[in-house]
């Protein structure tokens, strides 16, 4: 029943993203309008996929670090992606794919670095070290990014910072296909790790005693969640709060069994980002707000509410 509800909301969010926009397209003309087909529809779909990726990634991460306040962007990926993008822009890299590829490369590099740091205590990933390493790597990359921005042509790099704030302005069908090709593997890997993640909530040793291969699960989940986040950032910049808030909201209804939570987080994240993008395009039309700002504006009060609930317990 609740799945039907969530599915319905998802469809509604997609329909709104196609029907609403800064320019007026009459309802009757929606199916044939060029604007809808080549701009709004791929943009709505891409927003949904990116939001879904961030939602699932957040839920997975909160499970392995066993901290409900973890966010995918704590792992330094956003810093790495930003650095990659800014380097590409500063180097005048041409071609529409230069910036996303550079951002992806930066994110993957950050992921590898944090992984290496996470192994520092021994043969297994230590989740606490992961977070600390992620924050450190992110801060380092952020500092480098700021240095590059301050040394180069201010106008060009101001525009780069705008990209970092998150947006689907350059969405097209080709970016949708690329993301579609990229998503299944990490999603399947996470779904396969869903049950062991349930066990991990008891602690690492208890999970081991119950038969989970804890070392492999941590590695698998960390890599899959990082890949999902990396592809999201490289396509659309940094859209914060989704990975933090959506798992909480979904847990309230679907509970903690990850087999149910992951799909719910995917749909929930998709709904949130699609709606945020629709808002970003319409509230100050004809101008547009970066999507990351809309999710932050929604996310911060939502987060404050969550904290009140949490501490009241």
């Amino acid at each position: 029943m609740k799945w039907l509800g969530l599915g319905g909301v998802a469809v509604l969010a997609l329909v709104l993203s196609v029907a609403l926009g800064p320019t007026h397209v009459p309802l009757g003309a929606l199916a044939t309008s060029d604007i809808v087909r080549s701009i709004r529809l791929p943009r709505g779909v891409l927003a949904f996929l990116v939001g879904g990726a961030l939602g699932v990634s957040g839920a997975a991460l909160q499970a392995i670090v066993r901290n409900p306040l973890a966010d995918p962007f704590l792992l330094g990926l956003s810093g790495g992606a930003g650095l990659g993008a800014v380097l590409a822009i500063a180097a005048h890299a041409t071609g529409g794919w230069a910036v996303p590829i550079a951002a992806l490369a930066g994110a993957l590099l950050a992921m590898g670095l944090v992984y290496r740091i996470g192994l520092v205590g021994g043969a297994e990933l230590d989740p606490r070290v992961l977070i600390l390493g992620g924050v450190a790597v992110g801060a380092f990359a952020g500092a480098l990014t700021t240095a590059i921005v301050s040394l180069a042509n201010a106008v060009e790099l101001r525009n780069a910072m705008l990209w970092l704030w998150g947006g689907f302005g350059s969405a097209s069908w080709s970016s949708v296909w690329v993301v579609c090709a990229y998503l299944p593997l990490p999603l399947v890997a996470l779904f396969a790790a869903a049950r062991p993640l349930d066990l991990l909530a008891l602690g690492e040793d208890p999970a081991r005693y119950l038969g989970a291969d804890v070392a492999r699960v941590k590695r698998q989940v960390y890599l899959a969640a990082s890949l999902l986040t990396a592809v999201a950032v490289s396509v659309s910049g940094i859209i914060g709060f989704v990975g933090l808030i959506v798992p909480h909201a979904m847990r309230a209804v679907w509970g903690r069994t990850h087999r149910a939570l992951f799909p719910a987080a995917f749909l929930g994240g998709g709904v949130l980002v699609t709606l945020a993008d629709t808002l970003a395009r319409t509230v100050v039309a004809p101008r547009e707000l970066p999507v990351g700002i809309v999710t932050a504006l929604i996310g911060v009060p939502a987060f404050a509410l969550l904290m009140r609930q949490w501490t009241a317990r």
């Binding site: 008891l202 208890p206 119950l210 038969g211 291969d213 903690r256």
Partner: protein, 270 residues
């Protein structure tokens, strides 16, 4: 004895990385089905290390650990969990779950990768819940349980694994008298009724003496004594291991250790 052994440790030694001394030294233990063994010893005597060695979580520096006649490290985690179930000393309780859900986690070693739980699994959960006398709590949130109830739920989870050997690491350390007694009674009943093998690590020397068939006394990682309570619990031995004057009394036919007040001189009975 010709019974098949479930757990067989021979001459096991282990030192933690960067530690100055061995946590466990030259330790041997054979556990078969129907054995109720209690492991006693002061803090730091190596009891929890023993659990990790038995489960193959760490590999011994010397000696062998065999489960059902295969080396512990050769077992896949999931297969091992169908033979050995552990109730560790501590577990995280971060999320409010229902009792039935948390006991169902114990069926993990029996579930296939992609399938959902079947009727077999649900029946095993029901059996475990009723054996631990928590079936009426099945739909309650675990955050609403008392300490004693929660320990029984954790025991039910371990039983849902349908193991041959149940290892418990200090399961009663935070329980009050009634709940502690209830848990010991429950364990004894499980051993008597189902031939379950139990390896119990506990501080509580006296209850161990009255409920377990066999006691293992550890000190400094070494085996000091193993056998029936009468054999293991002598004044000299206990005073040497626990470094405190004691007296032995008999209750219900079993020796009980009574620590004396500091005014008494060690070594004097009565």
């Amino acid at each position: 004895m010709d019974r098949p052994l479930i757990l067989d440790l021979q001459g096991v030694a282990y030192r933690y990385p960067r530690a100055s001394a061995n946590a466990v030294q030259d330790f041997s233990l054979e556990q078969g089905s129907g054995d109720f063994t209690a492991v006693l010893g002061p803090n730091g005597s190596g009891k929890t290390t023993l659990v990790r060695l038995a489960l193959g979580v760490v590999s011994p520096d010397a000696g062998t650990v065999r489960v059902l006649d295969r080396p512990a490290h050769a077992w896949a985690r999931r297969d091992l969990a169908r033979v050995l179930a552990v109730m560790p000393q501590r577990e995280d309780n971060l999320f409010p779950q229902r009792v039935r859900e948390t006991v169902l986690l114990g069926r993990y070693p029996h579930l296939s990768l992609w399938g959902n739980g079947s009727d077999v699994d649900r029946a095993a959960v029901d059996r475990a819940l009723s054996r631990c006398d928590v079936d009426r709590l099945a739909d309650r949130s675990i955050w609403s349980l008392s300490g004693g109830e929660y320990q029984r739920v954790r025991l039910a989870r371990a039983l849902a694994q349908e193991p041959k050997l149940l290892v418990l690491d200090e399961p009663t350390s935070s329980l009050d008298v009634r709940h502690e007694m209830e848990l010991f009674e429950l364990l004894r009943a499980l051993v008597d009724a189902q031939g379950l093998s139990v390896l119990l690590i506990t501080h509580h020397v006296n209850l161990a003496a009255r409920y377990a068939d066999r006691l293992v006394l550890l000190a400094g990682g070494r085996l000091v004594a193993i056998g029936a309570a009468e054999h293991v619990l002598t004044t000299e031995r206990l005073e040497a291991v626990f470094e405190w004057p004691v007296r032995i009394e008999r209750i219900e036919g079993r020796p009980q250790m009574i620590p004396l007040r500091a005014a008494s001189t060690p070594g004097k009975d009565r």
